[in-house]
């Protein structure tokens, strides 16, 4: 099974997010980037499928943020091919525009299955995974937690997550695009030494990809920090002080029995 995986860079939410001078965009220069968590799971799921059923894993990414580190890590984990799509500095395409680029890059790739994280936290005017499926004219299903090779050749069984820890088991005829929420296992750890080795041994393919501009169909007026009507009463002091205060609150409310 030949699997294409899309990995994206998103702002690290551990850091504070800044709004740029226009007031309508994140300040991407001020952000530090990490791999989109669902894409990390998509990569893990692809590697698990390859280990179980053979085939290849090709990772495709836009050249943004700290993508080289992410791609070397993917190579160290076992990705067979790495495709980095050059984009203009500072350009952050909408999901529709990004889908057009990924679809163009995918034209020359063998792909029975395309795995993409079901969402990225910085998306608001579209969702990449189904947009890519539409651009590739492939079927799509998302919110998938776990994929196994199907009993029929050219098929997989995907588990779609529903509330209450309920799953729907779905038979998927390939080729198809799946929006991954979680892999069958947590993303694997790779030691730094293997990433360093991948940095020496791996070569990125960097095809020139041009796609028809796909402008966003919505217009962002402004960004603003969330305004809460309520806010927790903050407990301050040492850990011991705070622990004592919490215990006192619980006792007061009759929660210590």
């Amino acid at each position: 099974m030949n699997i294409m995986v899309v990995v994206r860079q998103v702002p690290d939410l551990i850091e504070s997010l800044e709004i740029d001078a226009s007031g309508s965009s994140l300040d991407w220069d001020a952000a530090s980037f990490i791999i989109n968590e669902c894409d990390d799971h998509a990569l893990e799921q692809a590697l698990l499928l390859k280990e179980a059923a053979g085939g290849t894993v090709t990772v495709v990414a836009l050249d943004q943020g700290d993508v080289d580190n992410t791609l070397y890590t993917a190579a160290a984990k076992g990705a067979d091919r790495i495709v980095k799509i050059p984009v203009d500095d500072g350009w952050h395409p909408s999901p529709r525009a990004a889908a057009a680029l990924y679809a163009e890059a995918a034209k020359d790739l063998a792909k029975d299955l395309v795995l993409v994280g079901v969402q990225a936290h910085d998306e608001l005017d579209g969702v990449l995974a189904p947009a890519l499926a539409a651009a590739l004219a492939l079927p799509y299903v998302g919110v998938i937690r776990g994929v196994q090779a199907g009993s029929e050749p050219g098929s997989v069984v995907a588990c779609k997550e529903f509330p209450g820890a309920v799953m729907a088991r779905l038979d998927v005829r390939l080729p198809a695009v799946l929006g991954i929420l979680g892999a069958d296992q947590p993303p694997r750890y790779v030691p730094v030494s293997r990433i360093r080795a991948a940095m020496k041994e791996s070569r990125f393919e960097e095809p020139a990809v041009a796609a028809a501009p796909a402008a966003s169909l919505v217009s962002v007026h402004k960004l603003y920090p969330p305004v809460s009507g309520t806010r927790a009463e903050m407990l301050v002091g040492s850990e011991s002080d705070i622990a004592g205060r919490i215990a006192a609150i619980l006792a007061e409310k009759g929660l210590l029995k």
């Binding site: 997010l17 079927p139 509330p163 169909l217 603003y224 969330p226 850990e239």
Partner: protein
């Protein structure tokens, strides 16, 4: 049919109408009335008739009853929704931000060549267009978005609106698909229910929730000690479950369980909207997180800006001392 109508796609999960549908109807009412339009509720299922009484807040209810819609698969649902939306030409289509919605909304928008907005917290009419307030970046940023093109497909975050309660006399129509609904390349096989035997977190009075801030699986033991001292159980946010620290039966939030304990003690949980959706009805919420901007502090009654791992031993001791 009017260009000012708003169409709500009812959320039906395993042959039951989900409460979020009434929230969507409330969201739709404000927008529809601003333009003199109606609220249309579309029910895609094998037989939507039993849901009609609950959907009274709509002006019209459109039932598409088809065996292909008995259990979820994307193609028949998108095809059925597309046909109704194309016929009705509403100003907006409201879809719940749920497991089905995350497929249906973008696939429908693609097919309609329509704008799509995710994470919608509120929608208002603005002349011929719409203004939408959107939560993104895990609830750490908001955006005010203008949508001029109709129909717009809007994915509404659960918990954004109070459920509509007005009892009206909705007109009910049943539509036959113009052609047989496609089975598609993705086909439903079976439901897999959680295995019995694990703790039912929805029945616990006290829950100690762990998130990414707990850092590694070994540290869950500390949270277990606290939960034991409090007579409760440990639950988790999605990232902690994704890491394999706890089973999916312990997950709280959109794709996990909805809980309403007497005490919800959140340790290293940032409070993404999907998590808050599952626990914000808790009677007492205490949040511990090193990030002062963590959205969990907006939902909590008490908060502490410290490392949960540093606090946990002291808290186990303090609880033990208080209990005597």
């Amino acid at each position: 049919m009017s260009a000012h109508d708003v169409l709500v796609v009812a959320e039906v999960q395993r042959q039951a109408l989900a409460d979020i549908t009434l929230e969507l109807l409330a969201a739709a009412r404000g927008v529809a009335e601003a333009g003199g339009g109606q609220v249309i509720c579309l029910v895609l299922s094998a037989d939507g008739t039993p849901f009609v009484p609950a959907l009274a807040p709509a002006d019209r209810i459109v039932l598409v009853n088809d065996p292909q819609l008995a259990d979820y698969a994307p193609d028949p649902f998108v095809a059925a929704a597309f046909e109704v939306v194309a016929a009705e030409q509403p100003r907006a289509v409201l879809v719940a931000g749920t497991s089905v919605g995350w497929d249906l909304a973008p696939l429908l928008a693609s097919r309609l060549q329509a704008p799509l907005v995710t994470g919608c917290k509120s929608v208002t009419a603005d002349g011929p267009g719409l203004v939408v307030d959107v939560s993104f970046c895990g609830g750490k940023m908001m955006a005010e978005v203008a949508v001029g093109q109709s129909p717009a497909v809007l994915m509404i975050m659960p918990g954004s609106y109070r459920a509509a309660t007005a009892a009206g006399a909705a007109r009910v129509e049943t539509r036959e698909p113009a052609s047989p609904l496609p089975a598609g390349a993705v086909r439903f096989r079976e439901w897999v229910l959680p295995e019995a035997g694990d703790v039912d977190i929805t029945q616990q009075d006290v829950l100690v929730a762990v998130g990414r801030g707990i850092q590694q699986k070994d540290n869950v033991e500390l949270a277990e000690q606290l939960a034991q001292a409090l007579g409760g159980a440990v639950c988790a946010s999605r990232p902690a479950v994704d890491q394999g620290w706890l089973p999916a039966t312990r997950q709280v939030g959109k794709s996990g369980m909805t809980v309403r304990p007497k005490l919800y003690l959140a340790l290293g949980v940032s409070g993404a909207p999907e998590h808050l959706e599952g626990m914000d009805g808790s009677e007492l919420i205490i949040a511990v997180n090193t990030d002062p901007k963590a959205p969990i502090f907006d939902a909590a009654h008490y908060g502490a800006e410290v490392d949960a791992l540093d606090l946990l031993p002291a808290l186990v001791e303090a609880v033990g001392a208080k209990k005597g």
